[in-house]
Amino acid sequence: MATETLTRPVTSTPTSGAGRKTGRRMTPGRTVVLVVAALLAVLWLVPFAWATVTAFRSETEAASRTISWIPPSGFTADAFVKVFQDGNIPLWTWNSLYTSAAITLVTLVISALLAYALSRIEFRGKKVLMTVIIASIIVPPPVLIIPLFYQMVAMRMVDTPWAIILPQVIHPAMVFVLKKFFDQIPRELEEAAVMDGASRMRIFLQVILPLSRPILAAVAIFVFIGAWNNFLWPFIATNDGSILTLPVGLQTIKSAYGIQYAQNMASALLAALPLILLFLFFQRQIIKGVATTGLAGT
């Protein structure tokens, strides 16, 4: 299972050396590698494990000074029950889900349209447009929070989902990831459609998009993860508890629950669960997507 990247529309035969290494005998050197890798893996899983065993004990035992992996009086799901009774986590999960889905969808639509124009259509001002959009990649989101918040107040969008969604759909780097992919699609595939008098939009929808599914998925994954986990902007744009996204909501939990360690960990784990599950099911696609879009910058 190689970590391929998607730079070409047609699956090219990998020139990678990944295949040659599998199925070798266990030499002493490889045993050392295995042990070090396993130690690192255990170290990297400890925070998850510790959060889990904390979440499954009673609050009194979570706050006990004798620290043990297995609680003396056994595990309990009380903390999860309390968190669900409270109702905030399911609400915030829903808020995160639909705002992230909307951000991903709008980003894909507007970026793919622009990428197609930049890849295939010769129009006046294209060079200038391209330069401006490339240059905009360097604008760091924190620079915009002050004027953008002021703008949201003026547009009466504060504490609405629009404030969360609209400013997050501009991903100039992803436009160029898509353009680069479109550039590699052979033009002959479109020529037949052009001969038939198909419009640009029809060519885009019926020829380009179907061939671009892998890169569209990669961009979607990248944008979705970013939107799902974004903290700073939703934190600024929303105050109303009913509209908070999961990351922002969790921040309020910390102060609300105070020293309720088991409930804190139960909430954190529930917040972590959706993307971890998604990763378990779509590991290949997510890894490929991140490896492809990652170097394009964030």
């Binding site: 020139t15 990678s16 050396g17 990944a18 040659r20 070798r24 590698v33 890798a37 690192l40 990297w44 925070p47 998850f48 510790w50 959060a51 620290i67 639509v109 507007i110 349209l113 622009l114 124009a117 930049l118 259509i121 129009f123 006046r124 959009i133 905009s136 360097i138 760091p140 924190p142 620079v143 915009l144 929070i145 002050i146 703008q151 609209l166 400013p167 501009i170 436009v175 008098g197 419009s199 939009m201 993860i225 986990n229 903290f231 700073l232 600024i236 990351p247 969790l250 921040q251 910390k254 360690y261 972590a272 993307l275 990763f279 890894i287 991140v290 490896a291 990652g294 170097l295 964030t298």
Partner: protein
């Protein structure tokens, strides 16, 4: 959605112009140039129509706030609406003389330096280990990369709990090893390192994946030739893998610097910038000046000083990558 419909309409109009939809290839030279002229006009329309939806968002939610922020930075604007008048560069002058601004900027740079080094080296080590071809590939990827899928708040909750001085797992483990306890988030000399450790755990998987993908693109022949020459695994890593990865390393380092400069979430959530401002990064100072201190104009000025720093790093990145590709 509506944006698609808009472009499709204009496309439909262009396509329905008489005589254009089915060009005859055997036309005379004169009508061919007429055709190419109208083709050019159509391309102009189509190009901008396809760009329009993105441009609309781009102008309203990026270009406009960027310019408006610049204007704000030259005013005394505040959330209380007190003073909207233009005061020129007074905010910038004040910021450059503001010890708190410099302190927060210093914290951001300090974090960037001490986080970038482990985030690149540990990622390289992880990728090198996995690339040897261990069994159960999915397991390594899952363990190293999974934390990257967490929200910053989840990471902060995990680590605040583990860093707890009395009840935390880390101090308990130290005690069992006979080591002294550490006031992880409450000691000004340690707090930033505590943030770095949490950040390393959280985001190293991203760099790990980039390294792994790059390693797997190194042609196998390189290694085969080296094996024939009798080079061992260690030797191969230093004389083939590392040099082949040089461009990737440059990109990862630069992307990591740009990412680290934007540090805010973990610090704000774990230490709130404390103790005594020892970890407060510049983005938090921007946030606090604007939303706690209500001084939007001044806050915008600090934003632009921060932006200047990012631009400098980005230009260096651009120059390096251009020289490499040239």
């Amino acid at each position: 959605m509506s944006s698609v419909a808009t472009s499709r309409n204009s496309e439909g109009q262009a396509g329905s112009l008489p005589g254009l939809s089915r060009p005859k290839l055997s036309n005379s030279a004169g009508s061919r140039s007429a055709r190419s002229r109208s083709q050019a006009a159509r391309d102009n329309r189509n190009g901008w129509a396809f760009a329009a939806p993105f441009l609309a968002f781009f102008l309203v939610f990026l270009v406009w706030p960027l310019l408006y922020g610049l204007y704000m930075s030259m005013t005394g604007k505040s959330l209380t609406g007190a003073n909207d008048s233009v005061i020129g560069f007074a905010n910038y002058a004040e910021a450059l003389a503001d010890a708190d601004m410099w302190h927060s900027l210093g914290n951001t740079l300090y974090f960037t330096v001490i986080s970038t080094v482990p985030l690149v080296i540990v990622a390289l080590v992880m990728a090198a280990l996995v690339n040897v071809g261990l069994p159960a590939q999915w397991l390594w990827r899952l363990s190293y990369f999974a934390p990257y899928l967490l929200a910053s708040t989840v990471v902060s909750l995990f680590f605040t709990w583990m860093y707890n001085p009395q009840l935390g797992l880390i101090n308990d483990s130290l005690a069992k090893l006979g080591l002294p306890k550490v006031a992880w988030l409450n000691d000004p000399g340690v707090a930033m390192w505590a943030v770095v450790i949490a950040t390393l755990w959280w985001t190293v998987g991203f760099n790990f994946l980039l390294y792994l993908a790059a390693m797997q693109n190194i042609p196998a022949q390189h290694y085969e030739a080296a094996s024939l020459d009798g080079a061992g695994a260690w030797r191969q890593f230093f004389s083939i893998t590392l040099p082949q990865l040089a461009p990737t390393t440059v990109m990862i380092v630069l992307l990591q610097i740009l990412a680290s400069l934007k540090i805010f979430d973990q610090v704000y959530q774990m230490t709130a910038g404390g103790p005594g401002g020892a970890t407060r990064p510049v983005v938090q100072y921007i946030f606090e000046t604007g939303f706690t201190g209500y001084r939007l104009g001044y806050s915008a000025a600090i934003s632009y000083i921060f932006f200047g720093l990012i631009v400098v790093v980005s230009v260096i990145q651009f120059l390096i990558t251009r020289r490499r590709s040239a």
